[in-house]
Symmetry: none
Subunit: 223 residues, 4 copies
Amino acid sequence: MGRKPDALRERLRQERRREILAAAGRIFAQKGFEKATTREIAALAGIAEGTIYNYFQGKRDLLISLLGSLVTESLQEALTAELFNLDEQSFLANLIGRRLESITSNADMLLVLFQQIMVDDELRRSYFTRVFLPVTTQLEAYFQARMDKGIYRQTNARMVARATVGAFVMNFVVPTILGERAMPGPERKRLAGELVDFLIGGLAPRPAPTGGTALGLREGSKP
Amino acid sequence: MGRKPDALRERLRQERRREILAAAGRIFAQKGFEKATTREIAALAGIAEGTIYNYFQGKRDLLISLLGSLVTESLQEALTAELFNLDEQSFLANLIGRRLESITSNADMLLVLFQQIMVDDELRRSYFTRVFLPVTTQLEAYFQARMDKGIYRQTNARMVARATVGAFVMNFVVPTILGERAMPGPERKRLAGELVDFLIGGLAPRPAPTGGTALGLREGSKP
Amino acid sequence: MGRKPDALRERLRQERRREILAAAGRIFAQKGFEKATTREIAALAGIAEGTIYNYFQGKRDLLISLLGSLVTESLQEALTAELFNLDEQSFLANLIGRRLESITSNADMLLVLFQQIMVDDELRRSYFTRVFLPVTTQLEAYFQARMDKGIYRQTNARMVARATVGAFVMNFVVPTILGERAMPGPERKRLAGELVDFLIGGLAPRPAPTGGTALGLREGSKP
Amino acid sequence: MGRKPDALRERLRQERRREILAAAGRIFAQKGFEKATTREIAALAGIAEGTIYNYFQGKRDLLISLLGSLVTESLQEALTAELFNLDEQSFLANLIGRRLESITSNADMLLVLFQQIMVDDELRRSYFTRVFLPVTTQLEAYFQARMDKGIYRQTNARMVARATVGAFVMNFVVPTILGERAMPGPERKRLAGELVDFLIGGLAPRPAPTGGTALGLREGSKP
DNA sequence: TATGAATGAGCATTCATTCAT
DNA sequence: TATGAATGAATGCTCATTCAT
């Protein structure tokens, strides 16, 4: 019966799947969902057009699967355990400066997603529950915990979480998308610091009598 | 044979243009740019398909012209003179609570814009220079002025401006788009207040007991 | 407004519709429904492919409309008033030899119809109610009337009507379709006569004592 | 290494062939030839798609082979020796009521055949020589023999044979196909009787009072 | 022989745009 | 200017068939 062992077969299948998805991601990001053609995707993946349909239901399924990839690959790891052990600034700095940076690399893909989210109700629901809510909810939980410990003053944690993400996106992602010339690393770092400063400054329950620029918030999180 | 005076003729022409543009806006927002058809737009505008081409170069031109409308209609008035005479909280509260609220009504359209911005370089440049930069620059100027006066502590005003917009968008616009159920007016108002508080809290040069500018939010997160 | 008068416009439209339908009929008959391509139909009609869709909903709609044409063009006239005034043999001879002969010319088209009738429930229902039932019912009514008058002996008129059609089809239509070489006119005529003889022979209430070959059925339809 | 004896091997091969053919028949009848997919056929047969091609040349070959099956399985036995020993009515009644009834069960398949017969010349020739001619010829021979013996009056035996088949098909097969609700057994039987009566009535050489062969249907259509 | 992944030609349909009236 | 019929390029998807294992 000349069969490949099932394990190998499955591995190859997954590999192929990933290749197609990668190609689709590239083309989608480049042309937008509607303008992208399955022809092009197949060409980039180095396969025949029909082969796509052995792995995916159709063009739209490619986008949905891509959404799944984004979820598992980059966003879910946004708040790992280690992060929670850092002090406040470091946490946010890391979150913004390192973790969420992964968003930047997927920025065009994310935008493509937003394209379709406007139009496709199911996709919208899916994105909302699988990406937006989890991420903001985790961040919200983080802020809430800090507030409860008195490290931050009590306010609407969800609002803070969303504002944080928005502030980040508008400073780092949007300008890139809109074509502002790329920021050099150091400036990028400085900007991240300033943003953290700005955000934390507003959270400090009691600005230290003589703090530096912004935040003397570490002393006395509990009297 | 009873020619209309040029002035009237021109007025009618402008009127027709606006009607078509309005129809296009509705359809674009509803279906997305690619899915929208000129047939539908013409139908909604109550004209024949071909007539569109007497007023616009083509479908893409409709979108570009729509961008122009957005600029003049809603965004440029974001920072009017009167606003500058309000005190700090009121200013931001107004900005967020009233002015930028107009964004919400155009949210669909703006998203459609973003769709195409990803794909269309000219549109992107146009949007960047005509909308994004003006708005953030104005806001930046406002913050800079306040900083120079010592009302806010000195920091990166541009960053603050963008963060402010981002925080707003992520709290008010995105959830709406993603389909979170609509917020009732009072809650909406409260959220806006909390957001302003959060933003200003971080801007106050020295949130000492002597509440200078704005917010009495610093006293006692824990008694 | 440079309009063609509505009447002319409508006439042209109908004309074009007919042309497309004729082309579709030819191609369908030649290749079968599934194998026929809109490209070919458009080419034969001398129009662009897209134009078809200005007149019809799609390929299937072409077939359905064709069914409508068949109904109005050939089958409804199968039993006209004049026919009813002929004597019995003449009636059947005419019916078979002249009227139903039109079926032959549409034979391939009818077969295409049967193709799809197997597969398309709506088409089947449509054909059943719009073609099969009317034709057989009319014929049945004819036979019933003759039976009631005593011209034919009393039996199941519907069965007789259907048997008549079947006998005709199997002798004239099917052999043609299956590729038996075409019958010369005279032979055709003779066969029709024999068939009528055969059919009527079975209907005669009282076979004349000394009839010729087959039918002495005219004398004494009423004592 | 344990080769199967050729005989067994061959038997298994034939078995497999039959399974595939049966599956193809089911699917063809259900969906029509063009709409049927090899994937479905393979699935129903419980084999892989590629395996079909170890037994058949391709999809079209399935149909042609199916034609062969029909010939040998059902149609050739239409006129078996035993039948010839029955009296006239019984013969026809049997032929119609029992033998040709098998057509009904294969009606779907036969229609599918007709589909392709329109389009495929080779298939048409094959069907004509292998099915249509044999059946009608046999029947024709039967009628001719009866005519020669004086049991039926002399007329065109081929025409009678075809008319008989057509009358049967139009009364029993076509209505079923077209979706008329199924006839209950008794009614079915009665209809068959009426049809035979009708057919034989026309065949009786001299329907004199002295009912020769079969049917007492000539006496008194009106008292 | 059996498998099923890969293939790629082929097709119905859509839709922005043109242009004769 | 307004119209809307005509256009035809472009595209997602299907499916019979091949072939390496």
